[in-house]
């Protein structure tokens, strides 16, 4: 029995979906914008403190790409919680209970005020908890409201910021031996008309996460849903790794490559070992709806115990961040031990190349824009307090990068995105 309650009208827009889907993730901005796009482009930069709650910083819009030394607190800035941000088209979205003090969950939308050029809060959807979300296109978004059901995905219209219905998988996923199961709290991603959502299983106390004591499952399950119909299609499994995405983080640790594939990071972070283990990158190739089981990047092959939490694919190369030391939970926000590497996507046996010209950085963690493509160029987030670096480097060719801008006032960089109509 299908329980789709989505507005029918917006599905008339399906032809637009395929064209828009590649712009949904951190690494998916169009390579070369045309003149019209350039005229409407805005750059948004989020900086702030992530040490003392409430984690509040400032979000600032720039009409031009920031360069040189940047003071990110301007009269046009708006106070915003610092736990990263997501972006789609001309909007920025943030999950409301991350970093805040109110306990309320939901999605906050920001857009550029046409009069002032500043970012403003202009839409909000409330949620009863676990509010991971994903914007598929300008009219289609998905979010979690666990009070409406652990096995339901809520749908919303990002343009109107209103809930439009829900997709109920309660009767679709089959029986489980686990006492607890939820979907979508750690990962929701889409491509080619399909929505992929994580299935977390565990105990009632642990809620299927490593942060509440539940052990790693040793595999990953993703439910595959047809976006147009809302129909559940299947569950796909990848054995040998655990934890795709992240449950309380703007950084969902996945990206759509310019090759049309979805690339996912398994963070491997575990409270039990106070660090990470088994972190990896896996993918679902363009034109398929199942994992590419012949393709995997294992972080432990390069530095045992490190964690991979950002990925970007462009022009046949995969860029990611790998630590030179094993991760410790105690220092995951401060250890400046991470380098950026480039892999040959279709030749993983070839050793990755370290991106030159960039100092080591802290962990990208909550920043979904750890590596981001803007104006067709690859930008790398760098925070290195010892060298007073706090901004982005841009790939300049031949696996080297140069400093694009450095934030000297405003706090640590936690988000950087290009917004366009």
């Amino acid at each position: 029995m299908r329980k789709l309650k989505i507005n029918v009208t917006k599905w008339m827009m399906l032809p637009a979906i395929a064209a828009a889907m590649l712009s949904a993730s951190s690494c998916s901005d169009n390579d070369e914008p045309n003149e019209e796009q350039q005229a409407k482009t805005t750059y948004a930069l989020l900086t702030g403190d992530m040490t003392q709650a409430p984690y509040v910083g400032y979000l600032t819009a720039y009409a031009e790409m920031p360069s040189g030394n940047v003071d990110n607190i301007k009269t046009s800035s708006i106070a915003a919680y610092t736990n990263g941000m997501r972006h789609y088209g001309k909007w920025i979205f943030k999950r409301m209970n991350l970093g805040g003090m109110t306990g309320a969950d939901g999605i906050q939308r920001y857009s550029v005020d046409e009069t002032t050029g500043s970012l403003k809060e202009d839409g909000q959807i409330t949620s009863g908890g676990g509010c991971n979300f994903y914007v598929y296109d300008a009219a289609t978004g998905f979010y979690i409201d666990q009070d409406r059901g652990l096995l339901k995905i809520q749908t919303f219209n990002p343009a109107t910021m209103q809930r439009t219905g829900e997709i109920d998988l309660s009767d679709k996923l089959g029986a489980t031996t686990f006492e607890y199961r939820d979907i979508g709290t750690s990962l929701m991603a889409g491509k080619e008309g399909k929505l992929f959502v994580d299935i977390a299983c565990g105990t009632n106390a642990g809620k299927g996460t490593p942060f509440n004591g539940d052990p790693a499952l040793g595999y990953i399950d993703l439910a595959v849903i047809d976006i147009a119909s809302g129909n559940y299609e299947k569950t796909i499994r990848y054995e040998g790794i655990s934890y795709l995405g992240y449950p309380a983080n703007e950084n969902q640790m996945w990206a759509t490559g310019d090759d049309g594939a979805l690339y996912f990071c398994a963070h491997g972070i575990s409270l039990a070992i106070m660090g990470a283990s088994g972190s990896a990158i896996i993918r679902i190739k363009k034109g398929t709806t199942d994992f590419d089981r012949n393709w995997i990047i294992r972080a432990d092959d390069y530095t045992p115990g490190t964690c991979i939490a950002t990925v970007c694919v462009k022009d046949g190369k995969l860029y990611t961040q790998i630590g030179s030391e094993a991760m410790s939970i105690l220092t995951m926000n401060t250890a400046t031990v991470f380098d950026y590497f480039a892999f040959e996507i279709e030749n993983l046996s070839k050793a990755p190349v370290k991106i030159g010209g960039i100092p080591q950085s802290t962990f990208v963690f909550q920043s979904w824009q750890g590596i981001v493509v803007i104006d067709g160029k690859v930008y790398f987030r760098v925070e290195n307090p010892a060298e007073s670096k706090n901004g982005y480097y841009v790939l300049s060719g031949n696996n080297t990068a140069v400093e694009a801008f450095n934030v000297t006032n405003g706090g640590v960089v936690w988000g950087f995105a290009q917004l366009s109509e």
């Binding site: 709650a53 109110t102 909000q124 809930r163 939970i329 105690l330």
Partner: protein, 726 residues
């Protein structure tokens, strides 16, 4: 000689009757009193004990309750009208309150009842629920504490001096009814034998309020999930508490000037309608606490009253509980929606938390008059608390699945202080010099994956503090004073050990240290005006804050704060029936030594930096009866908007002292807005003040007022009160 003994005895009895610590009365040496003050003057000075305390070298803001006792005012209202004192309340009667003093708040401020730390009382004698009829006065010390108050108070202390009935037999009864079905009643009964050797009495109060005021809250459309702000009445916000202390004792015996045995019992029950904001309502969660507390107080003077000793003991177990078992959520219309995955509404896991705090409190105070102009003072306070409890739905140690609350956690503290009070130049100059020793011992379990889970540790922290206070009188009605203290706050249990869950232990934690200074001048012309100007400077190091380390958090010594505060306070009697009062407080406390230059020099966040009060009191006599009194009053209270977030100094509001401008950055979502509140009332007192009737309207313009981020306090409310004194 006999005359001298009579005077000393009178002075001592007055001291005990007033409940103030002995050092306060001995501000002026006894011999000097005999030499310079005749009996008539002593009798006159007795009612102005509040003023005596307020004019010590160590500056105290003394909130004199006497005038407010007949009014339907709360203690919070009365304290908020004082210069430099800002009470923040998270809702209606019984809601959590905190005092802000010179930018300090939270654990930096310590609370006392009659000079004894109130930890053993839980919230029972919190100033938010104690009726003003139970209180003689409130002493607020900012940054520099007298020897008699023994606690590791980094930023100040509030000492509530309970009411001491005068006369052989007295009965005071007060009852107040107000909006939101608010009932407040208090009874004070005291009797003693004709020879004064035996006495007994009872102090009791009862509070109840539905607290169902209307607030602007987010009302969610269930279909669209879009919230709009709407006015809704709070629906699960009831508060009820009862408190009673019976006591009996002997006085004026050769072996005891005063021996008082008391038994206190209290119970608090509250509903929780919201949490740290009003974004999400709760409709079933409840909490409360209760305890029965035996106390003993002994006072004895020896050696011609040159040595005075006082001892206080209290032993009790404080029981607290929180119940959160609703399997669903409420909305602001009070509609319940079942949610299968929820075991509670505050948290998804719910709570059946029960905690027991076994307390032992001892305060020993000795003063020794070694010379007519010099008095030594020693004060030792020991507090020990052992916490046990359980929450079947709470945090468990991950490797053993044992409820961490099952494991006892203990914390004991000793605060010892010694001081010398001296008078020079014919009492024109008084000097207080003191040193303090702070020691704590914490015992508990540490969660560690690296070593061993649930490993028991015992940690000790020791520090020395010192202070100095000077007062110089230029005349009878003009004096200046300067005081300073190197104050300390010791880390507490959770700060050392974490919570066994996402807060890690930190055994390297240092005590907080603050160097606090007061400089003030006071001038008055009796019956006409009084004015006071005070400057405060603080420089605080190693403030302990909960720091996010990524996935976990840990208490660390991080922030450094410095700055100055200015308080102006004035009262003017325009004529016999018209009194005017006003005060203002400006605080400029800022971060310094920041690793991130962004907020270097930024004003403390979530801290009011300007607030002011003004009031008009009228007083007419012989209206309906001979010697009756009718008074009317109006109070205006203003708090300048402040911000949840740090704002870089360069982007702070413009205007003089930032009082009128707006921030030069958009922090609209982080504002605790300007608050303006008007209160009016009138009071009629019968001849002899045996009967008093009063009416008060608070927040008469129904302004939306917030003390905390997105938690609205009550709007306009009406209150009537009757006082009977027999």
């Amino acid at each position: 000689m006999r005359h001298r003994h009579c005077l000393i005895a009178l002075f001592t009895v007055m001291a005990m009757a007033s409940g103030v610590s002995l050092h306060a009365q001995s501000e002026t040496p006894v011999d000097t009193v005999v030499r310079k003050v005749d009996l008539e003057e002593v009798m006159i000075s007795a009612p102005s004990l509040s003023r005596t305390v307020a004019q010590q070298a160590i500056r105290a803001t003394v909130v004199d309750i006497k005038d407010a006792r007949a009014q339907p005012a709360t203690l919070t209202d009365v304290m908020n009208r004082s210069a430099g004192v800002r009470i923040r309340q998270t809702g209606g009667l019984g809601a959590e309150t905190s005092v802000m003093l010179n930018g300090f708040g939270g654990k930096s401020i310590r609370y006392f009842k009659d000079g004894v730390p109130t930890d053993y009382l839980g919230a029972a004698f919190n100033f938010s629920i104690v009726p003003v009829n139970m209180i003689e006065r409130v002493e607020v010390y900012k940054g520099v504490l007298p020897v008699s108050l023994g606690a590791d108070a980094l930023g100040g202390a509030v000492n509530i001096v309970s009411r001491q009935a005068g006369g052989r037999r007295t009965v005071d009864v007060a009852y107040q009814y107000g909006s939101f079905n608010t009932h407040r009643a208090s009874v004070n009964v005291r009797t003693q034998t004709r020879d004064g050797r035996f006495f007994g009495g009872m102090d009791a109060f009862f509070n109840h309020s539905d607290n169902d005021y209307r607030a602007s809250v987010p009302v969610v459309d269930t279909e669209t999930a879009v919230a709009h702000v709407g006015k809704r009445r709070l629906f699960h916000n009831r508060f009820t508490n009862g408190y009673a202390e019976i006591y009996a004792g002997v006085a004026n015996r050769p072996w005891a000037d005063n021996l008082r045995i008391g038994l206190t019992a209290f119970h608090i029950a509250r509903q929780h309608n919201y949490g740290s904001s009003m974004e999400q309502p709760f409709g079933a969660a409840t909490g409360g606490m209760y305890s029965v507390i035996p106390t003993l107080k002994y006072v004895k003077s020896m050696f011609d009253n040159r040595l005075k000793a006082e001892q206080f003991f209290a032993v009790n177990t404080l029981h607290t509980h929180t119940t959160d078992t609703a399997r669903g959520r409420y909305d602001w219309n009070g509609v319940f929606t079942p949610v299968a995955s929820r075991a509670g509404e505050i948290s998804t896991e719910g709570s059946l938390l029960k905690l027991r705090y076994s307390n032992f409190t001892s305060r020993s105070h000795i003063s020794l008059n070694i010379h007519p102009a010099h008095t030594l003072e020693l004060n030792v306070v020991y507090t020990g608390v052992k916490r046990t409890g359980e929450d079947p739905r709470g945090i468990k140690f991950q490797q053993t699945d044992i409820d961490d609350l099952n494991r006892p956690a203990t914390l004991s503290k000793i605060v010892a202080a010694a001081g010398l009070k001296s008078f020079f130049s014919g009492e024109k100059l008084s000097n207080n010099l003191f040193v303090k020793y702070f020691s704590s011992r914490a015992k508990g379990l540490e969660m560690s994956a690296i070593t061993t889970y649930e490993q028991e540790y015992e940690l000790r922290a020791n520090r020395i503090g010192a202070g100095e206070a000077l007062k110089y009188s230029f005349g009878r009605h003009l004096f200046a004073r300067l005081s300073g203290e190197s104050a300390v706050r010791l880390p507490e249990q959770e700060e050392f050990f974490g919570n066994g869950d996402f807060i890690l232990s930190n055994f390297a934690l240092l005590p907080e240290r603050s160097y606090n200074f007061n400089l003030g001048i006071h001038a008055e012309k009796p019956e006409l005006f009084a004015a006071e100007c005070n400057l405060f400077y603080r420089r605080t190091y190693d403030m302990i804050l909960l720091i996010n380390t990524g996935l976990l958090a840990q208490y660390k010594n991080v922030d450094k704060v410095k700055g100055v505060g200015l308080e102006l306070d004035a009262r003017y009697s325009a004529c016999r029936w018209l009194n005017l009062s006003a005060n203002m407080t400006f605080q400029d406390f800022r971060l310094f030594g920041q690793s991130d230059p962004t907020y270097e020099g930024a004003r403390l966040r979530n801290t009011p930096f300007f607030f002011a009060n003004t009031g008009i009191n009228t007083d007419f006599g012989n209206l309906f009866k001979r010697s009756d009194r009718l008074s009317a009053y109006w109070y205006y209270h203003f708090v300048r908007e402040y911000y949840l977030n740090y704002i870089p100094r360069s982007h702070e509001p413009g205007g003089w002292l930032g009082l009128w401008g707006k921030p030069k950055v958009n922090v609209a979502s982080q504002i605790i807005p300007d608050q303006q509140m008007h209160t009016v009332g009138c009071l009629w007192q019968s001849p002899g003040r045996m009967l008093a009737l009063s009416l008060e309207i608070k927040n008469i313009f129904d302004a939306e007022v917030f003390d905390n981020y997105r938690i609205q306090n009550a709007g306009r409310s009406f209150h009537v009160k009757i006082n009977v004194h027999l």
